[in-house]
Symmetry: C2
Subunit: 200 residues, 2 copies
């Protein structure tokens, strides 16, 4: 929307949010000012406030987009019926796909430390999702399809430690077509590990 002082870039709300989240990831949420955001998006502060109430709303929208996408995975039919190990494999694959597709948003989510109300709510939603996956690991172990010798919560943490590490090193700007290979590797390692010898 023109503000009478030149022609500001016309971003959709989603495009604007992605730019904002990228700035949060680069500078850190705490260290980012509304001025930084206005500069990075080419909007002045009043145009900015036309779209959003403030920094914490932007944080909430950013982590909300990641959480909604991750929660949607757990609601997919293949995550809700069938043998537990199959459901788990589906969730691992789709979660990795969400990380690749929504990289800046999930990166922001994973850096949240609980300093604000919005962050604490996001951490709570993350914990709920983790607990539901841990239940799936437990059910798969009970069914005999997943090794029973690792505590399900520990297995879940290590599994998502691997999956979430994608946000640390995957650079779609450098290797835009690598996403599917990354996802396949995650699923294979999670389910079968590195070794070509069968599990003991």
């Amino acid at each position: 929307m023109p503000d009478g002082r030149g022609r500001p870039p016309r971003y959709s709300r989603d495009e604007l949010l992605e730019k904002v989240v990228t700035v949060f990831n680069e500078r850190g949420y705490e260290a980012t000012s509304m001025e930084d955001l206005a500069r990075a998006t080419g909007l002045n502060k009043s145009s900015f406030y036309h779209h959003f109430n403030g920094k914490e709303e932007l944080l909430g929208l950013g982590v909300g987009r990641a959480l909604d996408a991750l929660a949607a995975v757990l609601a997919e039919p293949a995550a809700c019926s069938g043998p537990p190990a199959r459901r788990l494999e589906h969730v691992v694959r789709r979660t990795a796909e969400v990380l690749v597709a929504e990289l800046p948003f999930v990166t922001l989510l994973l850096r949240v430390r609980g300093n604000t109300e919005v962050e604490r709510e996001a951490l709570g939603r993350r914990r709920d999702l983790d607990a539901r996956v841990a239940d799936m690991v437990r059910a798969a172990a009970d069914a005999g399809d997943i090794r029973p010798d690792i505590d399900p919560r520990l297995a879940t943490r290590l599994l998502f430690g691997m999956v979430n590490s994608i946000t640390e090193w995957y650079r779609p700007d450098l290797r835009p077509t690598a996403g599917p290979a990354v996802v396949d590797a995650v699923v294979t390692l999670a389910m079968h590990g590195l070794s070509t010898r069968s599990a003991q």
Copy 2:
């Protein structure tokens, strides 16, 4: 060393460094002032400067301790001879043990982003270590003991994504005896994955 204004706590240099690194991890290195460090250690600034030249020296010592311990793993006899898959398994196990034993120091290392000369040197040393492990993965794949269908660098990243996640969730203050179970789970998942069915 008493400073004439009361009796400051008598820490060894190592104990002092561990306290400092804990503050860096809690507040972030950039956001920590020498005053924060003096307060957290119960020393005044002049006593502090008696031990250390400044913040960047402390950062260098902290990440150096992590890097030295990780590099020492790669120099162990079991990492240097024998079948590559065995060497790799040894390195995964010992690296996880180093993370558990040197948790604050490795946590600091993993958060380094390259903003200072000390940080850039640390990132360089980390890259060297990663490259040596990737060579080990490649050798194990060539020997037929590690699945050949995942790029060795990608496998190394995912493997250490899982191992390094220990610093995100392992709380020795809450579960001081859980270390060995965490290490065993890391090795088992890395080599054999979750599934009880043999790899395809």
